[in-house]
């Protein structure tokens, strides 16, 4: 898949160039499963949760929630079965890091899952993988079988009395199933429509049982933290956002691809230093920093460190670290149309604001792009998007509203030109 090996810390992807790493033997040769052995045989679950809290690890599925804290929400002293869910639904446009973590490091993920399962006392993990990921699913299925045969999974893992099973579940192709409660519904064989919260999954999760949901990448950091300690982890990245992440760079760059880098690396360094800048001597117009749900940044703001605390100051977020680069030939109204179409198509339809709002946004944007926009359209657009925020069952509606707000915040000129000239001014070099 053309993974570029970065020059700095890259503990997650270090061995991904080595085909043997996919096998259990190859993984063990690099010290694989030692962290799980250490955790299961020498660490109490509470100790482990403390360690992950101390490390400052934040979820890598988009919301950046502290992982140790999430684990601590699982009810204590209860004998209901508990579950873990690994969210491998990766469908956020611009994100493709989980795919390589599944394909190239399946045992790293299983080891992370096993350690997390011990920490929260889960008997089973549902690994929910998007239906289109056939190859990653095949690799994972094989790795799960291997880990079972070698006594890492199944009855009495590694000679302890802890048993854990990983069940692979294929999704059916619906973006909303990445939202954790949409995923839980889907896991139960239903339409993936998100649940009202509370109750949260730790109380009422998969099949009504206490459940912790984490992203693929989040689990993959865990064995490294157990092996090398919280302090080591905090030494990478920023004070508030420790560790590395895998940035996916796409769009108008010379070397699109995946780059594992410390959080806090500047967007400029990633786009120019690693991805080689824009081809054809063109200028950058804007960059979406964290997957399509996150507001765009203009070229003048590329100095921003890629960490949640610094991106929030610029009214955007790290999201899934999917970086999309757009050069100066790009029509931002057209970009808005593509984004709005996606969200209109994928809304699960439960909430009026989301179902109607995504439709309105698409309609108005298409009309502006065609040159048929009317005075006041931009105000309507902003008004509709504001009404979608914070008013719905899940964060999908916010994710649909934010990118459009970002485009209007930074590229209002593009929109006004369309309205003034009654056509798209970007036919030259038009590439969308």
């Amino acid at each position: 898949m053309g993974l570029k090996v970065p020059h700095t810390t890259n503990y997650l992807t270090e061995h991904f160039g080595d085909d043997g790493f996919v096998s259990l033997k190859g993984y063990e040769a690099q010290g694989g499963y030692e962290a799980a052995r250490k955790a299961l045989t020498r660490m109490q679950p509470e100790k482990l949760i403390e360690l992950v809290k101390d490390s400052g690890l934040q979820g890598r599925g988009g919301a950046g929630f502290p992982t140790g804290l999430k684990w601590s929400f699982m009810p204590k002293d209860e004998d209901r079965p508990r579950f873990l869910v690994c969210n491998a639904d990766e469908s956020e446009p611009g994100s493709f890091k989980d795919r390589i973590l599944l394909e190239r490091g399946p045992h790293q993920l299983i080891e992370g899952i096993l350690i997390a399962a011990w920490a929260v006392g889960a008997e089973k993990t549902f690994l929910y993988i998007r239906g289109e990921y056939s190859e990653p699913a095949r690799v994972m299925q094989q790795a799960i079988a291997e880990a079972g045969e070698s006594g890492y999974l199944g009855q009495g893992a590694m000679g302890t009395n802890f048993s854990h099973e990983v069940v692979l579940v294929r999704g059916g192709g619906a973006y909303i199933c990445g939202e954790e409660t949409g995923l839980l519904e889907s896991l139960e064989g239903k339409k993936g429509q998100p649940r009202k919260k509370p109750p949260y999954p730790a109380e009422f999760g998969a099949f009504g049982m206490p459940t912790t949901v984490n992203n693929v990448e989040t689990f993959c950091h865990v064995p490294h933290i157990v092996r090398r300690g919280a302090e080591w982890f905090r030494g990478i990245g920023t004070e508030k956002s420790p560790g590395t992440t895998i940035f996916g760079v796409s769009g108008h760059v010379v070397r699109p691809g995946l780059y594992e880098l410390p959080l806090g690396t500047s967007l400029e360094q990633i786009v120019f230093g690693h991805a080689g800048g824009v081809p054809g001597g063109r200028e950058i117009k804007g960059v979406i920093p964290g997957g399509m749900s996150m507001p765009i940044l203009p070229a003048a703001e590329l100095d921003v460190p890629m960490a949640n605390e610094s991106l929030r100051e610029r009214q955007t977020m790290l999201g899934t670290g999917g970086i999309m680069v757009m050069d100066d030939t790009t029509c931002m109204v057209r970009v808005g149309c593509v984004i709005a179409h996606f969200f209109r198509d994928e809304s699960c339809g439960q909430c009026t604001q989301c179902r109607e709002g995504t439709g309105w946004m698409e309609k108005i944007l298409n009309r502006i792009e065609r040159g048929a926009g009317e005075e006041g359209d931009l105000e309507i657009l902003l008004d509709v998007s504001a009404k979608m925020e914070g008013a719905t069952i899940c964060a999908f509606a916010d994710a649909a509203a934010w990118p459009i707000q970002g485009l209007l915040r930074h590229f209002r000129d593009d929109f006004e030109m369309h309205l003034r000239h009654h056509r798209c001014p970007f036919h030259e070099g038009f590439r969308l």
């Binding site: 973006y175 760079v249 198509d345």
Partner: protein, 168 residues
């Protein structure tokens, strides 16, 4: 749990086979409630029969002890399941933003011209169903398309046309 899976007397054409029923029964064991296996069952059945027609949905409803309309609702909620037969090959071109920035949309237009059909349609000989797809997690390797289970990345238009021509 397994007892709900009563093999039908004679497999009529288009009916779910005994082998698939057995696999569905195995899948059910993995979940606290058997309905958890429904998505996997839909995948298995569609792989066998090509689509989930209403009569197939009724069969599945029996297996899962649910109402047929509930099965059909699930089928229609997910993009990957089809209630009607599709072409022998499904070609999905990604047209989401990152792919479009690198020519995904123009690739789709050129393939529409090449096949003489629009996205969403099937060639008259039933060979290819052409579809537009949302992000498939291959954004850096755009333009890309998926044929059945297989990803084809970094595709030029000519290469893509050749690929389609080579499909039986």
């Amino acid at each position: 749990m397994v007892k709900a899976v009563k093999p039908k007397k004679a497999a009529k054409s288009g009916a779910i086979s005994g082998a698939t029923r057995k696999r569905i029964a195995e899948e059910m064991q993995k979940f606290p409630q058997k309905r958890g296996a429904l998505l996997e069952a839909l995948h298995l059945v569609q792989e066998e029969l090509g689509c989930i027609a209403p009569e197939t949905a009724r069969e599945l409803a029996e297996i899962f002890e649910m109402r047929a309309v509930e099965v059909m609702e699930v089928v229609s909620f997910y993009n990957m399941f089809h209630a009607a037969p599709q072409g022998r090959h499904h070609v999905h071109v990604c047209t989401n933003l990152p792919c479009s920035l690198r020519g995904g949309r123009s690739l789709l237009r050129r393939l529409e011209e090449h096949l003489g059909i629009r996205a969403g349609e099937t060639t008259p000989d039933g060979r290819i169903t052409l579809g537009r797809e949302e992000c498939l997690g291959a954004c850096a390797y755009a333009p890309m398309l998926r044929i059945g289970d297989t990803y084809h990345e970094n595709l030029g238009v000519e290469l893509a046309k050749k690929l389609l021509d080579s499909l039986e």
